[in-house]
């Protein structure tokens, strides 16, 4: 594990934002800029995924989708069990669990930048898996919450909130899902010469825009440190433990199930290890309003995200390389 591998723009911009917050800089980002950048990045990943998909081998793609569904359903259940074991109440556990079954596009893209910088090749299926993994974890979260509330709670008032069809629709029409799948579809159906007209915008600029986004997310992560006391140390510890567990599951799935090499296995580990802070929080706001958003945002953004970017990525890479026998 050579630390100098972390000297890539994505990681350094993140660290800069984090440090700026640490030294109480008055640096401020317009709130809308982060939102604009996340729309751009999700579309860009989607497009990239769609282009990859159009070159993909069908059997392998289905296999990867299967593995993504497995991770998306299994990891939140695992997370839920751990949280309950730690005596967290069921509704907060459900909401947090959903975040860990989903993925962080920022972390994933940092991992891609990390691999690119070292000129390590990787399978392209993980990009597709990323898009797939947005929804299942949300659904599991909903189901866990429904189960937690018990049937008694289903008063009439809750009709809309608890109508399963409505909730499933929400999981699939989530803004992030629309951007990722919409982008994927466009990347898939548009012929290459037409796509070329938008490549400079969505692809050539991508890594630079990601850097700016990560600078901002570094600041966001830094701001959450002040909330650690509020969420309690058990949860903070969970925010470090869970990515290690998810990463391990991801490593195993990437290597043994999907037969990926060093790069691809590491990316699957990152999918397993990372927690959503764009798509899932709004979904949980609506689906599990009883849970405290401060818990899940602090964990995914303030603990797991920086942990993965600084410690996790080189760690998963180290083990992926060992598994691959590099």
């Amino acid at each position: 594990m050579d630390v100098s591998n972390l000297l890539i723009p994505a990681v350094l911009f993140f660290a800069l934002g984090f440090l700026a917050q640490g030294v109480k800089s008055d640096l401020k980002f317009p709130p809308e800029l982060a939102k604009a950048l996340s729309i751009y990045l999700l579309l860009g990943i989607g497009l990239k995924g769609g282009i990859e998909l159009s070159h993909a081998h069908l059997g392998e793609a289905i296999e990867a989708v299967g593995a993504a569904l497995f991770l998306g359903f299994a990891l939140p259940i695992l997370a839920y069990a751990i949280l309950l074991a730690g005596r967290l109440d069921k509704l907060n556990a459900s909401a947090i669990a959903a975040h860990y079954g989903s993925v962080s596009a920022g972390t994933f893209l940092t991992a891609i930048a990390y691999l690119n910088a070292q000129e390590i090749t990787y399978e392209t299926y993980p990009v597709i898996m990323l898009a797939i993994m947005e929804s299942p974890a949300i659904i599991v979260g909903l189901l866990l919450a429904r189960f937690s509330r018990g049937i008694s709670a289903q008063s009439e008032d809750d009709a809309r909130e608890n109508h399963m069809g409505e909730l499933l629709r929400d999981a699939f029409t989530n803004g992030s899902v629309i951007l990722l799948f919409g982008g994927m579809l466009i990347g898939y159906v548009v012929k290459p010469s037409s796509l070329d007209t938008i490549t400079p915008f969505f692809s050539t600029l991508f890594m630079g825009a990601l850097s700016l986004f990560l600078l901002e997310m570094g600041m966001e992560a830094g701001k959450r440190i002040g909330e650690f006391k509020r969420v309690g140390w058990f949860l903070v510890a969970f925010g470090v433990l869970m990515p290690l567990i998810g990463g391990t599951v991801g490593l195993l799935v990437g290597h043994y199930w999907l037969g990926f090499g060093e790069g691809g296995t590491m990316l699957v580990a990152v999918l397993g290890a990372s927690a959503s802070y764009i798509a899932v929080p709004p979904a949980m706001r609506l689906a599990i309003p009883e849970a405290n958003p401060s818990y899940y945002l602090t964990l995914s953004l303030g603990v797991t995200f920086p942990f993965n970017v600084i410690v996790g990525i080189p760690l998963y890479h180290y083990f992926a390389a060992r598994l691959a026998g590099v």
Binding site: F29, P31, E32, A34, K35, S38, L91, D157, D158, E161, G175, E216, M217, E220, K223, R224, G226, E227, R230, Y277, I278, V280, P281, P282, M284, R285, L286, I288, P289, E290, A291, N292, P293, S294, Y295, Y296, L297, T298, L301
Partner: protein
């Protein structure tokens, strides 16, 4: 001076994901309109910096007549009972052109 008429101004600060629900409430009670502003802040649901959808607030403003106030409050109370985090505060106000605001 043009006449001013007493009305109630309902203010709700909530996460932006609640916007559609609040608009539905306004429309269900046939108010003449509503106003929304982007907001940030902090509260029992933690820090809302505005950078991410899950951590962004809106300030939802609704001018209503006294009888409608009661109806709307019942619906807001329902949202809060379900667990939604929001701050709701009502202020006396006086409007120009009473007829603009549905009874």
């Amino acid at each position: 001076m043009p006449l001013l008429h007493p009305m109630k101004l309902i203010n709700i600060v909530a996460n932006m994901t609640l916007e559609e629900r609040l608009v539905d409430i306004a429309e269900a009670h046939a108010t003449s309109g509503y106003t929304i502003l982007e907001a940030r802040g902090a509260g029992s649901a933690g820090l809302q910096t505005g950078a991410l959808e899950g951590g962004s607030n809106i300030l939802f403003m609704l001018i209503v007549t006294e009888p409608k106030l009661t109806e709307v409050m019942v619906d807001i109370e329902k949202l809060m009972k379900r667990g939604h985090h929001l701050a709701c505060f009502v202020t006396d106000t006086q409007v120009l052109r009473r007829e603009k605001y549905a009874d």
